[in-house]
């Protein structure tokens, strides 16, 4: 059996508890999505008219940023498996920077909306818009804190190919943040007939 097969067969070293945490988060968002869809279908005209006011381009750019950051995290884990701590740290830092760009992008989007007088109280669509993207943003910030801690610890040489659980767990969390946005973007910015 070659080394690469072993690597592929091995389960990621993510603790059960962290998976429960991540899955609970995903279920919470699934509930957000379903309530959004139900409320939207009850009053489609308001939702469609309000949706048209969103800046789809910024949303699409944010999708790309998060996908890119997920890729960096994948590369970080791969580098650590080769015991290349230096490279791992660089990739973690890159993923962190992507998160920062995401936040700046979101801040621009929110401030433009607020300047147009659109707030959480404007109508039900914007209530969902601010809350779903806001809670997702909180997850991005949380994920960035995790990435920062992982980065610092990697620089200090705390992790290696034999001690990879923390990096893999943080990675799975960050991928979750990414995959939630893959659904949030079409749901809030695009869908609706």
């Amino acid at each position: 059996m070659s080394v690469s097969t072993i690597e592929k067969e091995r389960a990621p070293a993510v603790e059960e508890g962290i998976l429960i945490f991540i899955f609970a988060d995903m279920c919470m968002f699934a509930l957000f999505f379903i309530t959004y869809l139900m409320e939207r279908n009850a009053d489609p005209t308001v939702y469609i008219a309000s949706q048209a006011k969103l800046n789809q381009t910024l949303g699409a750019i944010n999708t790309l940023i998060l996908l890119l950051s997920s890729w960096f995290v994948v590369l970080a884990v791969k580098a650590l498996k080769r015991n290349a701590q230096q490279a791992c740290a660089v990739f973690l830092a890159s993923a962190f920077c992507c998160g920062a760009v995401f936040i700046v992008n979101k801040a621009m989007e929110y401030s433009a909306k607020i300047q147009d007088g659109v707030t959480i109280l404007s109508n039900d669509f914007f209530m969902f818009y601010y809350i779903i993207t806001g809670i997702h943003l909180a997850h991005v910030v949380g994920g960035m804190v995790i990435l920062l801690v992982l980065f610092i610890n990697t620089r200090r040489g705390k992790y290696s190919a034999n001690n990879i659980a923390a990096v893999e767990s943080g990675g799975v969390y960050w991928h979750m943040v990414d995959l939630l946005w893959i659904f949030i973007f079409p749901l809030i910015y695009f869908l609706g007939a």
Binding site: P12, E16, A30, W71, L179, F183, L187, L191, A193
Partner: protein, 85 residues
Amino acid sequence: MALFRDNKNLVAMGLLLATIVSWFTFEEFHGYVIASVVIILISTVKVKAVMSSFMEIEAMPGPWKYMMNGWLAVVCLSMLIAELM
């Protein structure tokens, strides 16, 4: 889903490409049911790719693989149903 798991870099590039292409293709088609359905399906495939390739859910212990796939099915179906109703 071995394809997703073995070529993580390829999957990542595919995801970025799918995002760009679907964005330029569907930007003008808001409100068309067909466009919405296609976008939902593309998003579902993208999430499936992230789950299988990046999160390696197939290798996770116990029922996690089924729970994650179940979550994906529920979200995808509820979006489709809401769109087609």
